[in-house]
Symmetry: C2
Subunit: 218 residues, 2 copies
Amino acid sequence: MARPKKKVEGERAAAILDAADALLAEVGYEGISARAVAERAGVNKALVFYYYGSVENLFERVLERYYTAHGELLARALEGFRRAPDDVPLAERLHGLIDVYLDFIEHNRLYARLVQQQVSGGGMHLHLVERHLRAFYDWTSSLLAEMAPATGRASARQLYLTFSAAVINYFTYAPLLGDDVWEGDALSAAALAERRAHVHWLVDTLLAALAAEKPDAR
Amino acid sequence: MARPKKKVEGERAAAILDAADALLAEVGYEGISARAVAERAGVNKALVFYYYGSVENLFERVLERYYTAHGELLARALEGFRRAPDDVPLAERLHGLIDVYLDFIEHNRLYARLVQQQVSGGGMHLHLVERHLRAFYDWTSSLLAEMAPATGRASARQLYLTFSAAVINYFTYAPLLGDDVWEGDALSAAALAERRAHVHWLVDTLLAALAAEKPDAR
DNA sequence: GATCGGTTTGACCACTCGGTTAAAGCCTGC
DNA sequence: GCAGGCTTTAACCGAGTGGTCAAACCGATC
């Protein structure tokens, strides 16, 4: 159990992971070559393969780090509801989940691009994406199922897609509309606050509509 | 003006463009190499450069073909409203635009992936994407401006993003949720019909909410 | 001091990439 | 037939890729 074996355990490995993350953010999926990552991390190229086996695997580790972080935040939020005095209303729970989602993306700006890239790029790491997307879906739709039917125009599955699209698509599309549309940066604090308010308004409006048409159930 | 110069004018050029399109659909942006395109088109690799100058330019032509097709459909729809008896209600016009959008994506399944790829991939053709996205935004938001304020939680710009996200994101995310969620393929006729109904319901619901809170304007 | 195992290194490999080029093919007008 | 101009071809290029490997390094144990 010799702990202070060398410098710090896995220092180089972590540097490589961080370099890959940073490069991904700057140059995108294309620009993440073993050489570029190694140079960025100040490390020999062979170390990338020594620690991660392949560039693909390295990339997958970066992805997974984001996914597990996101998943843990959501799980913690759900756990909070469960421990609460047992009657947190559905709307409040949904708002909570959405705030967690928005907070996470705002603090990890790369995340939205990374996920969208994988989903739309026909990337080879789709199994990872599928697994996490499915988990998020299960959590959210189990909430929505309390009010929404399983199928039809206002079903839980449709609502889930619309809500998550409303959150994540903003970060990839809004910046492209141009600064004049947002009177400045689409990712400025003011613009982000407006989007957050919009999504919450969206949830409230749709839930109200659901409640109104619930009696006739369709 | 010698027309029947050789076989068919631009036959090879068209074959290359189509091959690039097909490869893009199957393998994604990564898999579109000059060699692969040429082989797919049954053509010498040098011809790719003879006709298109560079692989980048070839890719841009594919993108542009989709964008102009989409743009023309939208423009035609808008033109139709303008010629109509002068009082097509806003909701109906919005539903019309959305149907055009959905029809186009359903008949050009690659389109959604292609656009999302460019937007999120930090691709080098962002200027193309920006130009068209901006045009679509201007058209849609000019309609929405009749009912929605320019800023705030229910502003035209926010609604535009939410509507377009609801349309386009379905095609990239829904298939990942798994066949059991959709009782079959998420892109089957039945599933697509449910999504279409959902989006129209979404529009109606939000417009109704807008109308209800219009008096106090915020 | 010798040894041993995990770590680090630079040199090297086969391969693919986008792109070029000079020559050949081929069709048309004379 | 021949001249001239698009079109098509095979061969080639330099650069960059992911990945390997044997040797060197280096800290800990005996």
